[in-house]
């Protein structure tokens, strides 16, 4: 977590402990902290404070946006269909797949760069309109695995042209550190963020819901967050989230430039190993994610060797058992299975230094050489 976030949450862990939903003095003091957090977040993401909802994270935001929009339309007597690309984070993809057997979910293809196929999306949206079903379209701003940036304004244009009444959501969890969120917020109806991706605490998030857009809440109860997300406020988490987002936004431009340079060194160092390819070109990727495919190795074995050498990396998401799953993102992008087997994902952030990059290149080179020399017969 960012020091600003840790510092901001401290008072709320021990001394300032009132439930903000009360009416007494102590509650009002805490309430104020949340109101200020809300204002700060609204200012960064470019929306009204009333359009900011604090929740339990990006996954919750994604679920709320998709299920909530579909259910609201259905409750009003209409038909709705959720649409997303095959490369979406599971927090979006599994929601759409859950709706698919009931005829209320469609998964669309991805281009070779990891972004949604806008032609296919346009066709699907037009067809849904013709069938009288409102499209609830979810398109991630940045792919969490390979780092590709979606041209969201283009997607919004395509969707709105085909279906003016469509609900458009974006999972912007991976965008917060690297992109100005205001233009994203302006293009969509709903947006999800996860606090831990910008130096805040895990288990906290923010959802933007444009005024006038109707979504059924996922969680019912005491009516917090204007009935949109009930449950006692995670005060410390909310305050830390706002502090982290403000600090991140303040240094976003300089950090992006610094990290982009480090990423470039990292990627060239790794390409020099030979038999290594960058999955997404640098100009289409956020600086914080470097995804590569390494020929002739199994990434499960590579990660073990890297871990032993003090380098923590990943390849794809893990399943409930803790085992790595084959990447659905690479599959959606059409990356051949053999190549996907050698996928490596490295992330860079506010603590990354040049010396980290140099060490990483060395460690990875050694591990790759070792595994390649030990190929199975």
């Amino acid at each position: 977590m960012r020091p600003e976030a840790i510092e901001a949450m401290q008072p709320f862990l021990a001394d300032v402990y009132a439930n903000p939903s009360g009416s007494h003095r102590f509650a009002r003091d805490v309430r104020r902290a949340i109101d200020e957090a809300r204002d700060a977040v609204g200012a960064v993401i470019g929306c009204k404070p009333g359009e900011v909802i604090f929740n339990g994270g990006g996954t919750e935001g994604d679920n709320t946006a998709i299920f909530g929009a579909v259910r609201r339309i259905q409750a009003m007597g209409g038909a709705a269909t959720a649409v997303c690309s095959a490369a979406e984070h599971h927090a979006v993809l599994h929601c759409v797949e859950h709706l698919a057997p009931r005829g209320a979910g469609i998964v669309v293809g991805t281009d070779g760069g990891g972004c949604i196929d806008t032609d296919e999306l346009a066709d699907v949206v037009r067809r849904l309109m013709a069938e009288g079903s409102v499209p609830v379209v979810s398109v991630m701003a940045v792919n969490n695995e390979v780092g590709s940036i979606t041209p969201l304004d283009e997607v919004a244009r395509v969707v709105r042209a085909a279906a003016p009444n469509a609900i458009l959501h974006t999972d912007a969890v991976q965008a917060a550190c690297w992109l100005d969120l205001a233009p994203l917020t302006a293009s969509v109806d709903v947006l999800s963020l996860s606090s831990h991706k910008f130096g805040g605490p895990k288990g906290c998030g923010v959802m933007f819901q444009r005024a006038g857009v109707e979504i059924e809440p996922l969680i019912f109860g005491g009516g917090q967050e204007r009935d949109r997300r009930s449950g006692t406020h995670n005060v410390a988490g909310i305050v830390a989230t706002a502090a982290a987002l403000v600090a991140t936004a303040a240094e976003r431009a300089t950090e992006s430039a610094r990290i982009a340079e480090l990423r470039s060194e990292l990627v060239s160092g790794l390409l020099a190993i030979g038999g290594v390819s960058a999955t997404v070109p640098a100009d289409r990727s956020v600086p914080g994610i470097a995804h590569l495919c390494i020929e002739g190795i199994e990434n499960e074995a590579l990660l073990f060797l890297l871990d032993e050498a003090g380098l923590c990396a990943s390849a794809a998401s893990a399943c409930a058992s803790g085992a790595m799953e084959p990447s659905h993102v690479l599959a959606a992008m059409g990356v051949p299975r053999e190549l996907a087997r050698g996928a490596l994902r490295l992330s860079l952030g506010h603590t990354t230094t040049r010396s980290d990059v140099t060490s990483a290149v060395g460690i990875i080179g050694t591990a790759v050489a070792r595994l390649r020399s030990h190929t199975r017969a």
Partner: protein
């Protein structure tokens, strides 16, 4: 580390001896069922035991290999009237092949499991798989396929112990798996629905005629693919009679032959896909064991070629279903000499729809 008490204690013993131990659980099947060994809840148990022992715990995803080497062949076998033992194929292709290769690639010196079997060096300096210290739990049968280099890089630390001793040690060490029941089921077959539901989704079932040893129609089965040699129940007889057993199954002609217990008795057993511990096949007198917990039987074995042998039992025994593993032990019934699969080739009279 399968999440069971044996592998938990095996890890503890290696650690106690001062080795650098890393616990690994293989993710093999993530589909429906997820019981049996290496399930998601077993992974949790394995991980927590590893934490108790303060060793690293990793999960390797070998589900592709498992599908290809264990599940697909299991399904295909049923379609052709063969009764496979998938746990043996898992040992052959995953535990002692894929996993040992991964261990080699990562620079490890040995793969350790909790199997109840002992590895003993003979007078020629070669490692052999010996029966475990607990006769009732002996697993030499299921690890019989280990040879040569694999044996040099495998360790069975609990192999000389009885099950009771293993559990006692686990309890003494405070391991959470000390009282955990042993898993018996095939890990990819759900308990609800069982084999029938699993296979029903993957292969077509064909109804077949049930005939007696003289070729007379005596019944009908809905799925000849689900019928196993030796089976007594569910064999579709029109009339209930005195004990009848399935003595032969032919999926090609879709015929099931039933007979008396006497009709099931055989002295001949043809084996293929032989693996010899000593490397080269050798005819002679041995003892043969045809199931995981069955007794071994005295027999004479004649080598036909590098892949096949003909076993002649001293005493007749119930016919063993093709596809099952048969393991040859030395005459003193101490160590594995060879192992193979029971052939479909049978000595059944051709007039009643013999197998190929």
């Amino acid at each position: 580390m399968s999440g069971g008490v044996d592998s938990s204690v095996a890890a503890a013993l290696m650690q106690r001896e001062g080795h650098h131990v890393v616990g690994v659980t293989m993710r093999l099947w993530g589909g429906e069922s997820d019981t049996g060994c290496c399930s998601v809840s077993d992974v949790d148990d394995a991980r927590r035991v590893a934490q108790q022992l303060d060793i690293d715990h990793l999960v390797f995803n070998f589900s592709d290999d498992f599908q290809e080497k264990v599940v697909d062949p299991y399904v295909h076998a049923h379609a052709t009237g063969v009764t496979p033992n998938p746990c043996i194929e898992c040992n052959r292709s995953l535990k002692f092949s894929r996993l040992t290769e991964r261990a080699d690639a990562l620079g490890f010196d040995a793969v350790v499991t909790g199997h109840h079997a002992r590895l003993v060096r003979n007078t020629n300096g070669e490692m052999r798989v010996h029966r475990g210290g607990d006769a009732a739990k002996d697993q030499s049968y299921v690890v019989h396929m280990l040879t040569g280099r694999e044996l040099e890089r495998t360790l069975f630390p609990v192999g000389h112990m009885t099950k009771a001793e293993v559990r006692a040690l686990a309890a003494e060490l405070g391991l959470r798996t000390a009282a955990k029941p042993d898993s018996q089921d095939v890990c990819f077959i759900p308990t609800t629905g069982g084999r029938e539901t699993f296979l029903g989704k993957r292969i077509p079932f064909h109804s077949g005629r049930v005939v007696d040893t003289e070729g007379h129609d005596v019944g009908r089965v809905d799925a000849v693919e689900l019928v196993t040699i030796g089976q007594r129940r569910g064999i579709g007889l029109y009339k209930t009679e005195a004990k009848r057993f399935v003595v032969d199954v032919d999926t090609t002609s879709r015929t099931v032959v039933v007979g008396t217990e006497g009709d099931l008795q055989r002295t001949g057993l043809a084996l293929h896909s032989m693996v010899w511990a000593g490397g080269s096949p050798e005819s002679g007198r041995y003892r043969v064991q045809c199931s995981a917990h069955g007794a071994s039987l005295p027999c004479a074995v004649e080598v036909i070629d590098g892949d096949r042998v003909q076993v002649t039992l001293d005493q007749p025994h119930r016919r063993v279903a093709p596809g099952q593993s048969a393991v040859l032990y030395d005459e003193s019934d101490s160590y594995v000499v060879a192992g193979g699969l029971v052939s479909a080739a049978s000595a059944w009279p051709a007039s009643v729809g013999a197998t190929a």
